[in-house]
């Protein structure tokens, strides 16, 4: 059932891209409504910087507007194409920021997208989510990207491999390592809370 729904959505995306290629602005707006939130979430958590992520997502949709005709449905789903563009733009953005920081033009470090929950003030649920966000931000870049593409983009291993330009085997490895590190982080936090309460 959910697979059928996803296929319908995918077909819908392809139709939208065809209409965008023909100059349909309404189709672009619809594509933004469908994928804007997911792409923004992916970019924000990958970059750790909300303003940069917003800029990247805008760039992605401008690129889609200009290059929609280049999308080939035979090579993958529309969502895979969108995430591939976003991942490439995020990598470019990260390099630009690193270069600016290196030359002393930019002293701003990681800017959390949302206020991280404080252990004293947040509810248990918020704490849990804040711990996951913290764990995500500590993962190596490629593990973080693979996990976010899986969880946020809901891409399968093959699609993640296409987005990252890697083999399916190495994507599986990245996911295994990333999940293990995240679980360790969650378990450490749980142990810390137990010690505190006892």
């Amino acid at each position: 059932m959910s697979c059928a729904v996803r296929n319908d959505a995918s077909n819908g995306d392809e139709e939208l891209l065809a209409r965008i290629a023909a100059g349909g602005q309404a189709a672009l707006s619809e594509l933004m409504a469908r994928h804007g939130r997911g792409l923004r979430t992916f970019a924000t958590r990958y970059l750790g910087h909300a303003a940069d992520a917003e800029d990247v997502v805008q760039e992605v949709f401008v690129t889609v507007w200009k290059q929609a005709a280049r999308f080939d449905p035979g090579r993958g789903r529309a969502s895979t194409w969108l995430y591939r563009i976003t991942a490439n733009r995020c990598i470019d953005q990260r390099r630009r920021r690193a270069l600016r920081t290196f030359f002393g033009l930019d002293d701003i470090g990681e800017e959390p997208a949302a206020p991280e929950a404080n252990a004293e003030t947040a509810t248990a649920a918020r704490q849990e989510l804040a711990i996951v966000r913290d764990g995500l931000s500590r993962l190596p870049e490629r593990q973080r990207m693979a996990l976010l593409l899986r969880a946020v983009g809901e891409l399968d291993i093959t699609a993640i491999a296409q987005v990252m330009g890697a083999s399916t085997g190495s994507v599986e490895q990245l996911l295994v390592r990333g999940r293990r590190a995240l679980r360790d982080h969650l378990a450490d936090a749980a142990r810390g809370r137990e010690r505190k309460s006892s």
């Binding site: 602005q25 672009l28 707006s29 933004m32 409504a33 804007g36 939130r37 923004r40 979430t41 992916f42 924000t44 958590r45 909300a50 992520a53 917003e54 997502v57 805008q58 760039e59 949709f61 401008v62 507007w65 200009k66 470019d92 390099r95 997208a113 949302a114 509810t123 248990a124 649920a125 918020r126 849990e128 989510l129 804040a130 711990i131 996951v132 966000r133 995500l136 996990l147 976010l148 899986r150 969880a151 946020v152 999940r179 995240l182 679980r183 969650l186 378990a187 749980a190």
Partner: protein, 146 residues
């Protein structure tokens, strides 16, 4: 969330975690993710999805994108985008290096030619000019009285 709490909530709210009250979902997913069951990876992915969620203004995004598109249409860039991208910059740098290398070889080849002829003349028994100039002294035998 402990196993006891999780089981108690499951009996109360059912197997579908999405149907549980919102404050219990995160801890429940974290418990499932750490539990090591078959669905642990799925639970962790759902937890990551929930944690990563970022609220944003979709209308503002659409407005900004349309404004960028209109600005781009009104003022085309002087440089092709490829040239300002990292790959383009790397390609340009490589092209400049190759051109400089080729030019260097050409200049060196032109400079080497007289030296080669000098060395050949020296090997044949000629004398180099004392002032270090490029002229080769006349054949040592030339002009000598027989």
């Amino acid at each position: 969330m402990t196993r006891e709490e999780f089981e108690k909530n499951r009996r109360r709210f059912g197997d579908d975690i999405d149907a549980w009250p919102a404050p219990l979902r995160g801890p429940a997913l974290a418990f499932m993710a750490l539990d090591g069951d078959a669905g642990a990876d799925g639970a962790l992915d759902r937890l990551v999805r929930q944690a990563a969620l970022v609220e944003g203004d979709d209308r503002a995004l659409a407005r900004e994108v349309m404004a960028r598109i209109e600005r781009g249409a009104a003022r085309p860039s002087l440089l092709p985008r490829f040239l300002v991208a990292p790959a383009g910059l790397a390609a340009c740098t490589a092209a400049v290096l190759v051109a400089a290398t080729v030019a260097g070889y050409q200049v060196a080849r032109l400079q080497d030619q007289p030296q080669d002829s000098e060395l050949l003349a020296l090997a044949a028994g000629a004398r180099l000019a004392d002032d270090g100039g490029s002229a080769i002294a006349a054949d040592p035998g030339e002009g000598d009285p027989l």
